[in-house]
Point group: C2
Chain length 426, copies 2
């Protein structure tokens, strides 16, 4: 069915076809054995290697057109595929092979007093609609995570990567056919027409969940329009709180790693909170590290006196996800003010306390309502791979269904399977 030329004239008909085919494919995929899905991952990896020249040729068309879309040098670099990047993609697929098949896992079970055996079994969600921006490697990653978790996926990548996505999609579909899996388990929206997205967002009867990954405005638009559940991936305004009892060397290492190791990602720290009792000693030391790492500081009045060259932080700074080598700094009266600051300005993503005091660690962990709360470790660890989930399709800032990294299990639901021998209710 996928071979049918899509009817781009009618976004509504095109969306209906995509979602109906995905729904049918999902029923087949839900019953597929783990070994078959793993064979598909390995076959896809092999095809990526075998057809690397073809992929790179298609990708170079996107790269050539990139200036038309006003992509800057960094964005063009992210768009580019080369043999080493393709090899990494193939290896990523082979890593997903090693993860356990989540489908059919017994989550919990009990035998009821009347002898009924109640088992809660993990099942796929059904159909995932995944909307993302330019990097074409995400096409392959997302498809792999969806299929391994038993879900059909409708991929909608950025128009800047359309040629790359088309060829990658063809390869993934060919591998599905080679493995006797439904080829419609992985479909690509073949047109940049935004109206198709709008139509797909209405189809809550066929699509189980939409996952938008990209800028805040994209996510807000999708969340407002979608009639099905959305797993959102909003700002990470992440904090490091350095308590009075912190080991200074450890605190400096954690602050620098949280801010600098990869400043453009959601789990990078954006704000440093420091206990007033140690600020006078700690901040001048910290300032040296920040300066040599090229970090621009925006501080409160007190911290500016201790950090040479720090700019004044405005209220807006504390609410900003810089995604850059910038850090806001505030001296707080103690733990409770740090918690209040995080509740007021944070985005419930990732927060770290550096402390040697057991009760401070306990209180911070209990009171801070974030997807990941860390003690004496970098904020950068809020990541599917680092927390042990394996691959991830995003980091949820929602509390509902999935919170934090979304891996294979987060794309599943469950059903109650009940075995009896004639029980009825009295």
């Amino acid at each position: 069915m996928s071979a049918v030329t899509p009817n781009f004239d009618s976004p509504s008909c095109y969306a209906a076809g995509l979602s109906e085919r995905a729904h049918v494919a999902a029923r087949g995929l839900a019953m597929a054995r783990g070994a078959t899905k793993d064979t598909w991952l390995k076959r896809s990896a092999q095809l990526l290697r075998d057809q690397s020249e073809r992929i790179i040729a298609e990708n170079s068309k996107d790269v050539a057109r990139a200036p038309e879309f006003d992509l800057n040098a960094a964005a063009i670099d992210r768009l580019k595929l080369n043999p080493s990047r393709l090899e990494k993609l193939a290896l990523a697929l082979e890593e997903i092979v090693l993860l356990p098949n989540p489908v059919g896992e017994v989550i919990d079970s009990s035998i009821r007093p009347n002898g009924l055996q109640v088992v809660r079994v993990r099942v796929p969600l059904g159909v995932v609609f995944f909307i993302y921006e330019s990097r074409p490697n995400v096409t392959v990653d997302a498809a792999a995570i969806c299929v391994k978790s038993g879900n059909a996926v409708i991929l909608r990548g950025g128009k800047e990567a359309l040629h790359s996505n088309r060829v990658l999609h063809q390869i993934l579909q060919q591998a599905l056919t080679d493995c006797d899996l439904p080829p419609d388990a992985v479909q690509l929206v073949q047109t940049p027409d935004r109206a198709v997205v709008g139509e797909l967002l209405k189809r809550s009867d066929k699509i189980s969940v939409t996952i938008p990954r990209g800028g805040k405005s994209l996510i807000e638009r999708v969340a407002a329009e979608a009639k099905m559940p959305v797993i959102k991936h909003f700002d990470g305004i992440c904090h490091v709180y350095v308590d009075a009892t912190a080991d200074f060397a450890m605190a400096r290492r954690i602050v620098i790693n949280s801010k600098v190791q990869r400043p453009g990602v959601c789990n990078a720290a954006e704000c440093l909170l420091v206990h007033r009792d140690i600020a006078g000693k700690f901040l001048p030391e910290m300032a040296v590290d920040l300066q040599s790492a090229g970090v621009e500081v925006r501080g409160c009045e007190q911290s500016r006196r201790l950090i040479p060259g720090a700019l004044a932080a405005t209220e807006a700074d504390y609410r900003t996800e810089y995604l850059d080598l910038k850090l806001s700094v505030r001296v707080v009266d103690g733990l409770e003010q740090a918690i209040e600051h995080i509740e007021t300005y944070g985005s419930h993503h990732t927060e770290t306390v550096v402390t040697n005091d057991f009760s401070v660690a306990q209180r911070f962990v209990a009171a801070v309502d974030s997807a990941a709360v860390l003690v004496n470790a970098s904020t950068r660890f809020n990541d599917g791979g680092e927390l042990g989930l394996g691959a991830e399709i995003g980091i949820s800032t929602d509390k509902f269904h999935a919170r934090g990294p979304c891996g294979l299990k987060e794309l599943t639901s469950y059903k109650y399977v009940v075995h009896g021998n004639g029980q009825i209710r009295e």
Copy 2:
């Protein structure tokens, strides 16, 4: 703050106040000890007993006004409170005391290769907006489940029960105050003005989830308007499939129990599917039981020949949740056609197979995509109490977040708590 006279003139301001107070209360409640929440449940039970006369006096005002709202005799009966019903309500609270506190439960944990200790800990969702219809006992049940799971709740009952709900709410709040818990953990929408519901459904910043329980049109309206996640509780078009290998006596008992034990509820069976190889022998026997239970049958052509007095089933019958002593019957070619029928006409709620064949049971359980799939047991077991969850606030027909009965755990999320000793990402 709850003592402030609500500003009914502005639905928007009233909704803002309710949701802001609930949000603040939820932060306090999330930190409350299990023992304190249990003391609140016991104190509430005691107040229900001590103040039964006052409650019944207020309830009788609702009963007296019931004809104004066109309530029929059955609905008026459901509205009525008397000493024995209040005692049952108090006992229900005391049963929830016995359930484990879900907050703080370690869902899973691991130690990462770098020594990080990763623990996934259960936390409350935050604020639940619960919309329901007339029965006032639901007010108490729902509040108990929300508070025990650490969530603040905004209750919006039917206008027919407003006096009853007000007095019950006062009692629950008094118990909160007596136990030093935030009184705004349980709030009641004090006006029947529908505009307040609309305003509350916009407040996704303060309300974590909305749970509508009532007719299909209510749920559809809420799902369409709500800006936050909704746990929906739609139709139960539940099936019993009697396989060729079924024990007839067991099958007859299960069909009658599934249909008749309480026909007005969502997990009652609405359709009987019978394997053609046994239809000629089984259906005449089944017909005797159905007739003596007063069940009206609407059958396919073949089944009508075997069931005296059966009406002809239309396509619409197979899509109808009768909630009454009516049953559709269809003879199928075998297991695969039964599965196809359930996929086409069912509502993914609860389905049972009666069989003695292991591979039939296995295939049915794997292929039927319903919240509960049972082998040789009544559909009526898809219920929080029966499946071992304890109390339930509803039965979700969604796959997302919670599926099937929603008890304490289904009103929770989780956070990652990570303990390190200075780890940074390389």
